[in-house]
C-alpha cells in the first residue's frame, strides 16, 4: 500500500534558491565562527558615576511624617477636649427643657398627699409638737399649699394637658414636699 502511494503521489523539486541559501550559509561559516569570538568591551567607570548624578535618589522612609501627623492630631484632640470640658466664666447660663410626664407627676402628688394625711392624723391626736408655733406656722403653709394643689388639680381635670398649670402644680408640690420634710424633722 505504501509503495503504491509512493509511486502514485506526485513529487516536488525545491527551488534553486534553497540551495543557494544553504551554500551561502556554508560559505559564511568562517565569518560566523569569527563573529562568535568578537571581543567584548567594558564601559568606563565614569559612565555609572555620571548616570547616578542624573538618576533620582531613593525616596526616604516617610514613617516620621505619619508619626508627626499622628502627634499633631492627638494634640489637637487633647486641646479640643480640654477646651470643651473646662469650666468657663462665660458659660454660666444654661438652658434646658424637660418635659414632665403626667403619670409620674401624679404618682409623686399622691405620695405627698399620703404623707400630708399621715401628718394630719398625727396632729389630731394632740401631739405636743404640733402645738409649737414654728411647727404650726409650717403646718399652716402646708395647709394652704395643699388647698391650692387641690384647686389646680381640679382645674387641670382628668387629662392634664395645660402646660402652665402643670408647671404651677409641680412647683406647689415641690414646696409641699419641702414643708413636709421640715415638719417630719421636727416630729
Amino acid at each position: 500500500m505504501s509503495d503504491l502511494l509512493k509511486h502514485k503521489l506526485p513529487t516536488y523539486t525545491p527551488p534553486e534558491s534553497v540551495w543557494e541559501a544553504v551554500e551561502q550559509g556554508l560559505n559564511e561559516a568562517p565569518l560566523k565562527e569569527a563573529l562568535q569570538h568578537l571581543p567584548m568591551h567594558e564601559p568606563h567607570p565614569q559612565v555609572w558615576l555620571e548616570l547616578t548624578e542624573t538618576l533620582p535618589t531613593a525616596r526616604p522612609l516617610r514613617w516620621w511624617r505619619y508619626a508627626a501627623a499622628a502627634t499633631i492630631t492627638g494634640l489637637l484632640c487633647f486641646v479640643g477636649y480640654v477646651f470643651l470640658h473646662s469650666p468657663s466664666e462665660d458659660a454660666k447660663l444654661t438652658y434646658s427643657q424637660e418635659k414632665a410626664f403626667p403619670s409620674a407627676l401624679l404618682a409623686q402628688n399622691e405620695a405627698i398627699d399620703q404623707q400630708y394625711e399621715q401628718l394630719q392624723a398625727f396632729c389630731e391626736t394632740k401631739t405636743p409638737v404640733c402645738e409649737k408655733p414654728e411647727f404650726k406656722d409650717l403646718k399652716h403653709q402646708l395647709d394652704e399649699l395643699t388647698i391650692a394643689s387641690r384647686q389646680l388639680k381640679e382645674a387641670l381635670g382628668k387629662y392634664n394637658t395645660d402646660a402652665s398649670l402643670s408647671s404651677q402644680l409641680s412647683d406647689i408640690e415641690h414646696e409641699r414636699a419641702e414643708l413636709l420634710k421640715k415638719l417630719s424633722e421636727r416630729i
Binding site: P30, E33, E42, L51, A58
Partner: protein, 170 residues
C-alpha cells in the same frame, strides 16, 4: 535575586539594585553600542543615555520580551540616532542593491581583525550587519528599529558583507 525582584527594587529607586542591573547588562550593551557607533566615547554616551532611559521608563516594561531584549532595543535606537547626528553617516538608500552571495573562502578569520574591519564599514551598513549577523535580529526587526524598509535592510547587509570580504582580502 530574580529579574522581577531586581526590577521591583529598581522601581523603588534602590541604587544598589540599579547598579546590579547595570552591571548585569553593561558589557553586552556597551559592546553593541561600540560596534554600532565605532567610537568608544560615543558608545559611553549611548550607554549612559540608554540606562537613564531604562531606569526612567522601567515601569513601562512588560514581560513580553526579556529585560535584556528590551534594553537592547532602547540602546539600538539610541545608537542609531547618535550615528545619524554625525556627518560621516552614509544614507542607506544610496547603496547598490546587488544581492549576489559572497564567498568567504575556507580560511579562518581573526576575530580582532574582523572587528576592526566591521568598524570601518559605513555606519548604516555597519548597524544592519551588527544587528542581523551579531545580535540575531531579523530584517523586519531591524527595519522597525532603524526606521527603514526591509529591502533597505537587506541591501545594506549584502553591501556590508561584500565590503567586509574585500577589506579582509586586503
Amino acid at each position: 535575586m530574580t529579574e522581577n525582584e531586581l526590577i521591583q527594587r529598581c522601581l523603588q529607586h534602590d541604587r544598589s539594585a540599579q547598579r546590579l542591573l547595570y552591571d548585569r547588562y553593561k558589557t553586552a550593551m556597551y559592546t553593541l553600542a561600540y560596534r554600532m557607533t565605532g567610537d568608544f566615547d560615543q558608545a559611553n554616551s549611548v550607554l549612559q543615555d540608554t540606562f537613564l532611559a531604562v531606569f526612567q521608563n522601567l515601569s513601562q516594561y512588560r514581560s513580553e520580551a526579556t529585560l535584556g531584549a528590551w534594553i537592547k532595543a532602547i540602546l539600538v535606537r539610541k545608537a542609531h540616532r547618535s550615528s545619524q547626528q554625525t556627518p560621516a553617516y552614509l544614507l542607506m538608500e544610496t547603496l547598490p542593491t546587488d544581492t549576489s552571495s559572497v564567498d568567504w573562502g575556507n580560511d579562518a578569520i581573526d576575530a580582532a581583525h574582523l572587528e576592526k574591519v566591521i568598524l570601518s564599514l559605513p555606519e548604516g551598513a555597519r548597524a544592519v550587519f551588527v544587528l542581523i549577523e551579531v545580535e540575531g535580529y531579523t530584517h523586519r526587526e531591524v527595519a522597525e528599529l532603524l526606521g527603514v524598509s526591509e529591502g533597505t535592510s537587506k541591501s545594506q547587509l549584502n553591501y556590508a558583507k561584500k565590503r567586509l570580504r574585500e577589506l579582509l582580502k586586503n
